[in-house]
Symmetry: D2
Subunit: 350 residues, 4 copies
């Protein structure tokens, strides 16, 4: 922590701030500058200290230096986290690109199976589908619930796809954990700490989506909540943030990929479907995500998007998903990655 004094601060004020710091059990290091004096603090730990200092006479600013995340940081664990799934070649975080695909919501057994068959054929290792849906309107379709979880369990059985689905609240978390392979925490719940803590007590991978206005630090602190309870299998997912820009539903912030890789060992996926909200932007941004170094993709696919109960405009068609897999399969080697199940040449050729 660094305390910056005002230009007019008196020697007495500087002395008083130093004394206050020492009294808190830390060491104060005054650094007289050309215009102002700054005071370095060593030995401090928590953010709570900050308030004390900003209110002292003569203090202009207090600058925090240490990061709040610990277990999510590369300072604690240098090598990348790779999450593996017993009895499957699926993995998230290593050399293989992880591709999660499926409809926004599970609408029926027929719809889910038709889409699952397509995405499995194109090389996806994970199937996504909403059972419990967070909807802006209380009057909108809220998901099939347990029925949807059971349909996805059948899909895992039949197609060998691992299941990713959202747990909306602490009430349904155990149920979701029982049926799914990866528990998704949605963007709107990124700071639902009760849910994060409870997910941290499970022993199943947790995928945390970035909140609509979350900073990198807040995003990692959400992961830290899960990690701090002893669950070390956390996957991050960027899905667009909210800005003034109006040409897309959200602004997909791909630069968070190298930024996360710099400071954290956790894998990060990109969701270009929510990230853009427009079908015709999904493939360009999926390619861009892989090129930027993401560990994989999470994509909405629907066989009849014009009839989808949610997110139709941003769902791509199965044929587009095949095309996407062909394209990212070609980009993967540039970033030292691969699609584990290969590129289906016949599909990519179309």
């Amino acid at each position: 922590m660094l305390v910056v004094m005002k230009a007019q601060a008196t020697p007495e004020e500087i002395q008083a701030v130093c004394a206050h710091i020492e009294q808190l059990g830390y060491r104060a290091h005054p650094l007289p500058g050309a215009q102002r004096t700054a005071i370095g603090i060593t030995g401090n730990q928590a953010e709570a200290d900050r308030g004390n200092l900003e209110s002292l006479p003569g203090v202009a600013e207090v600058i925090r230096v240490s990061k709040a995340y610990k277990l999510a940081s590369r300072d604690v664990k240098e090598e990348d986290t790779v999450i593996r799934f017993a009895g499957s070649d699926a993995a998230i975080g290593g050399r293989d690109l992880a591709v999660v695909a499926g409809p926004c919501s599970i609408e029926s057994r027929e719809q889910a199976f038709a889409i699952a068959e397509e995405v499995a054929a194109a090389g996806a290792q994970f199937f996504r589908g909403g059972a419990y849906k967070p909807r802006t309107s209380p009057y909108a379709f809220q998901g099939l619930g347990l029925d949807a979880l059971k349909i996805m369990a059948e899909i895992r059985e039949k197609y060998g796809l691992r299941i990713v689905t959202e747990a909306l609240d602490t009430e349904t978390l155990d149920l979701v954990a029982e049926w799914a392979d990866v528990i998704q925490i949605g963007a709107r719940n990124m700071q639902n700490y009760s849910l994060l803590k409870k997910a941290g007590r499970l022993r199943k991978p947790v995928l945390v989506k970035r909140g609509l206005s979350a900073t990198l630090e807040e995003f990692l602190m959400a992961a830290e909540y899960v990690l701090s309870e002893g669950n070390y299998e956390v996957i991050l997912c960027e899905r667009g943030v909210r800005t003034f820009a109006d040409h897309a539903r959200n602004t997909l912030d791909l630069s968070i990929v190298p930024a996360i890789k710099r400071v954290s060992h956790l894998p990060i996926l990109i969701d270009p479907s929510h990230g853009t909200g427009r079908r015709d932007s999904v493939l360009p941004m999926a390619r861009a995500a892989v090129a930027a170094g993401a560990d994989g993709l999470m994509v909405e696919v629907h066989n009849h998007p014009e009839a989808a109960l949610s997110d139709g405009p941003q769902s791509i068609l199965p044929s587009q998903f095949h095309e996407m897999m062909g394209e990212i399969g070609q980009i993967a080697p540039v970033v030292l990655r691969r699609l584990p199940r290969g590129i289906r040449v016949e599909a990519a050729a179309g």
Copy 2:
């Protein structure tokens, strides 16, 4: 809803879109323009329709016209909602400015009582204090829980202040509802729909804080979740939004006050403490909020902010709270409001 066709759209494409609309059970009204044709739709209800249309050939854009909120809208209820508290002169939404004041967190019985005595003396009708705290870091102080609720119940008894406190999750909601007069839903939980729905089934006023990047519509939709379950006592609270600006912790968006008043009958309070994050900005923004037409204020007050366990830098001192009450009491008549318990002249004079 309005469908805007591309300039190059063919008559057949326009015809196909009209046919699609009619097939959905609505009426299509083609409006040929100088450059493009637009197609008005009447008889539609839900947002789910939109996806259908954007994917049809020749369609450039689909524009939604109706608002998603119903019960929160002045279209449904023209007169302002006023929330009253039996056995008390406290009210939110009418002529009287509602002032909610107290510490960020209840830290001890002594601290809470000392602050309550001050804010009651200065004319506040409501006491706020965190029992369960949403903290960015899992390692930070999380609140005293039930003990804090009991302390606040004693404060209600002793000072006649009504109690406002946050329910963090569905697990503790019933407990909070049992002890508090107003249940606060925090900004991070503004789209925690399970929590909102459960709060909607209670028969206690619910104060919903605006999410950090919530639009006016999303803010009202959060209220709509509570209203749609039959709880009509909803209070909105603006507490700053997240922008690029770095001179304050958040950007307090006071223009939402006249905007809400235009479209909704619900009362709106302003929280200048979280809205700015800086003690020296709280009074200016509190005055501004009242001048803008807000129904009241929610302010953090601490007797020893330099030792506060949370939000010390943005908590004002009791003496500043007295000063604030004096100032807003003078501004109130300009906006046809008043401070119900008067201005304590001796205090304001200090």
Copy 3:
């Protein structure tokens, strides 16, 4: 400046950074912490130093401590700047609230005089009107140019109002300076450094509007460009910033008022017309601006807003302007201000 080293930085890397700093002619102060070492730098001046350091091995972050603005800072001049106008009681920055009012564009002599008569009668000291208009579309009305400047000179003569008008570019700056009392630099030109520098060589007050995404520091640096050329009569003006919020044309950031007052001696006005873009939000935000401590207002007034060539929807009617003056006249004493020409009671009563 403060250099934060990575947790894994070696003693050699720390030593190398210190050596590099000393080589640049500064002093390095290593501060070993529990997790990381930080290195304080004293004696440095310019921002250019930063790049050097971030690229050295082991460096995690470089934090700038000194502010870039000098002449705009209270560190250099503690007392508030007050700008006076010879032969007039008009002033900006002192006890008197400065009110600038008039149409967005000068459209005709009749229109301008009709509006000027109204705003003068209601107590404004300054008249605003666009002669050269910055328009998003090249096909939109671009202003009457010199004719408009001449009309405003007549208005000064007849009503004793001082004239504020925008200089769009260096070509027309001299012309504007010749006819106007205050030269406005628009939000889109806030970082048009050629224009700012040329305005700095004039000896007329310059009003700088905040850019749509300008931080406080960038805003003051724009002022610094004018000040650094020797023109010390700079007025700041907040007119709303761009955010995700869609209920107003811009988000009016009133918290910049106390923030500017903290660090700078320059006066700051608020423009609630551009700040909201909606007529029905102008009065609430004008009141809020005065209550927040602004030095005055800049407001668009039009006698026939439904026929205005620009900004009609945000222009208030003369009757609303009278009402506004009555309201802010009542709020002024709370912030130790006054309307110098008094409140026209008969007008305010209407």
Copy 4:
């Protein structure tokens, strides 16, 4: 244009709005809905009409349908614009990826030549270098001016690179146009309409950088200013926008690439240097930009970034530039592009 009436609007109010529209010379098409009536307008052209309507009794909202840009739109010109340079294989907008590389500022003949040699060897077709620099601080290095232009002319001669450099103001525009092949308009000048118009009267390609908070429409309107003066050789350039996110200097908005391609025929480049502000993010985002379908890149390269007079932290080393060219050369075929001068295998191998 579409006028949405309030739910409570009376038939008389609806009739009055229709009459007003007809009086303006347009046609009104009332569309009674379940809750509200909307009125479609045909035959209107300009944005100025809007104000008229929003102020009429009973009107809730006015929605603009037509886009303001005309010449920049695919409605006017369906095929992509390709800009060619006589006597060179360099082109912007066609199958060949355009790569513009060089230092932020020309600091000396030696520095410029050393960098030019490297970027030419790696396959760039364009050289960038600042002669006139827009700096936030008046005290920072402002560029070498004419000397820099002359150095770049020599570089064109020696290495066959086309020159891209910024014109800061109308004063220096002619000089820049005389020496450069592409005139850059910087982000801070994106709404400097005098400069855009004067650039529109030249017959040299103009590269317009997106403003820090420009919407897609404003970005295209800046291009429209140039096009409307008869200069049809306009290149767009995304360089990051301003958001709350603090892990990068700006937020690079790659989703604008497919969005621009949808509505406009103009080519678009991406600047990952300003877009991220961090050397270690430049290569990931350069790859992502090409994968997203951009027409090329604009990248800052410096042989001694630790000693650069500006933008050192975001400049990549020549060796990194070689690596980048190797990587994007491999991605190019996926998006049906190529690097015209091939990939220097030996360089890429390094």
